[in-house]
Amino acid sequence: MLHTFSCALAAFAASLVEFVEALTIVLAVGAVRGWRGAIGGAAAALLVLGAVIGIFGPALTRIRLGAVHLVLGTLLLLFGMRWLRKAILRAAGVIPLNDEAASYARQTAALQDAGRAAVAWDKLALATAFKITMVEGIEVVFIVIAIGAGGPGLLLPASFGAAMALAVVILLGVALHRPVATIPENTLKFGVGVLLSAFGTFWVGEGMRLAWPGGDLSLALLVAGYLAAALGAVSLCRSRRRAGA
């Protein structure tokens, strides 16, 4: 009984870490690009994962996680760096800041002109939320299978622990989505660019089998590193433009 409980608890704790990582990106993407695409992407990834688990089950452990990290990390890096580049250029005044009120007015007018656009999905939000949920979800599957392989009958409590972690993270997301939405759009875009670049770099490194000091904790260092570099780049761009003016 104690072994079953500790197995569920271990799966819960380990899965919680992975799901919180996914939630960070889904919340940020939802606040910037709209909740429909972000939630749709995350939900689609969970559905795909559920179907894959149902079909393949424990055979999934044969997947080379490194290859998954490398491919999805590269895509996330291309997304993230593109996003961060624009955010830096906006913050430095090289390209115009998106005026949120004007943008809202433009979008409302566009939606009134074309009713079909109102039901359109934001592809970027959909794809980003799908990828982050998929990668973290695959890691959770590995965690559940690894913990569940510790003895007979442990797969069920491990799955239960992971499911509880998912439920906690969904509740956390519901509670946090309003406060996140109050952050100014351009600040949020800067932050999303930093987060996506950091996650992308981490995964690519994992895919290349490079050692990250502190394991998952080095994600925080990568976020800090990208933030510092981006803020430094904003200052450099400003001074370069002042010198050129």
Binding site: L77, M81, K123, G207, L236
Partner: protein, 71 residues
């Protein structure tokens, strides 16, 4: 055919905005994949090199854009 082309163009646009930035990132990742694990670098140095290269590419890209645009 036109629809397929439009979809592909839009899909590509999600990843590629500045072609030089995307090209440099991909080139650095391929180089890193091929070379970094082979050097037998001390713990953490390979990961740092990967990050440092990406930051350099990003900063070069924004500085190039800032210099090229009229103020």
């Amino acid at each position: 055919m036109t629809t397929l082309k439009a979809i592909l163009t839009e899909l590509l646009g999600l990843f590629l905005d500045d072609g030089r930035l995307a090209g440099a990132i991909l080139a650095w990742l391929v180089l890193g994949y091929l070379l970094l694990p082979r050097f037998g670098l001390p713990f953490g140095i390979g990961a740092f090199a990967l990050f440092a290269g990406l930051v350099t590419i990003l900063v070069e890209s924004v500085l190039r854009e800032a210099s090229g645009r009229p103020g």
